[in-house]
């Protein structure tokens, strides 16, 4: 399970980085499809950590350690960032036709929202990973022992 999580996390990171520059990798069409698909994978990432989410949600106002609270707040922000990125991406999409969704708002607003939310979320990702560094170290140590 941990190995699957690790591979998923690495994949998420790579795709996220490719998405940060729409010009970097096979143009906007890739960007838009990958942006939509990555959303599903983030849901999977959440599902795999579901037990943690359940426990902390229940205990949040009672007796969670501060660190768990910090992680929780960060996770909620990450999720919000993700939703904003994809929603604004849909609003400014050019190669996939989403006009039927009638999201409203000005194109300018969504465009700025798309840029800012993706930049802020990338920074939050960095912090998120930093807070889970122990887990990452453990995974790589595990790999060494196994080999």
């Amino acid at each position: 399970m941990n190995r699957i999580k690790l591979i998923l996390n690495i994949l998420l990171l790579i795709v996220m980085l490719l998405l940060m520059d729409p010009r970097s990798f096979y143009g906007l069409e890739f960007h838009e499809w990958a942006g939509l698909i990555i959303g599903l994978f983030f849901i999977l990432h959440k599902a795999l950590n579901w037990s943690w989410i359940k426990i902390v949600t229940v205990c949040f106002f009672k007796s969670s350690p501060n660190r768990a609270r910090l992680n929780y707040v960060l996770d909620v922000l990450l999720l919000a960032g993700m939703v904003l990125m994809i929603l604004s991406g849909i609003a400014i999409a050019r190669t996939i036709n989403f006009s039927w969704m009638n999201l409203g708002g000005s194109g300018m607003f969504w465009r700025v929202m798309h840029t800012s939310s993706s930049f802020i979320t990338l920074a939050l990702f960095g912090i998120h990973l930093g807070l889970h560094w122990k887990w990452v170290q453990l995974r790589f140590k595990f790999k060494k022992v196994a080999s």
């Binding site: 010009r23 970097s24 069409e29 838009e32 036709n97 006009s99 194109g107 939310s117 990338l122 930093g130």
Partner: protein, 165 residues
Amino acid sequence: MSKKIINGIISLAIVIAALYGLSRLRFIERSIWIFKTNDMQNTRRGGFERGGREGRDFRTRPQDFGGRERQNFENLPDSVRQRLLAERGARVENDSLRESRALNDTAERGDFRGRGEGRDFRRGQSVRLVNVGWFFIVFAGFTVITIYLDMLLKLIKRKKNQKEC
């Protein structure tokens, strides 16, 4: 001990590179863009004009987002485009994204012919990972700083606990 020193040096290098990456990608400016967008005036000054493609897009992309504006954009006369580019020129020199677009004139002409006909931004060069590398370094910078802050906070906490005992 030597491992710790090596780790420290690598971390420092990552943080320094990340700081450079922040300015190269105009990371902070673009992150807080949304908070500066109270009206069109602000937006134009705050970033679009410097941001390249976007600035031009929005002048030709009015309030609603139907699809019509793309047609307009496509028909934008070269003279107008040139003026807009010149307006931005000076500030944009160090901007890697803009540089990459300017290198390839196709991008400046706008590759998109409207919805449903998705095409690359920049024909001829479909994989270009320079900026992705910089984004990675900035990302790694945030990770490294968090790791060290975390260690520092833990250390402070431990010291505090020791004193209390």
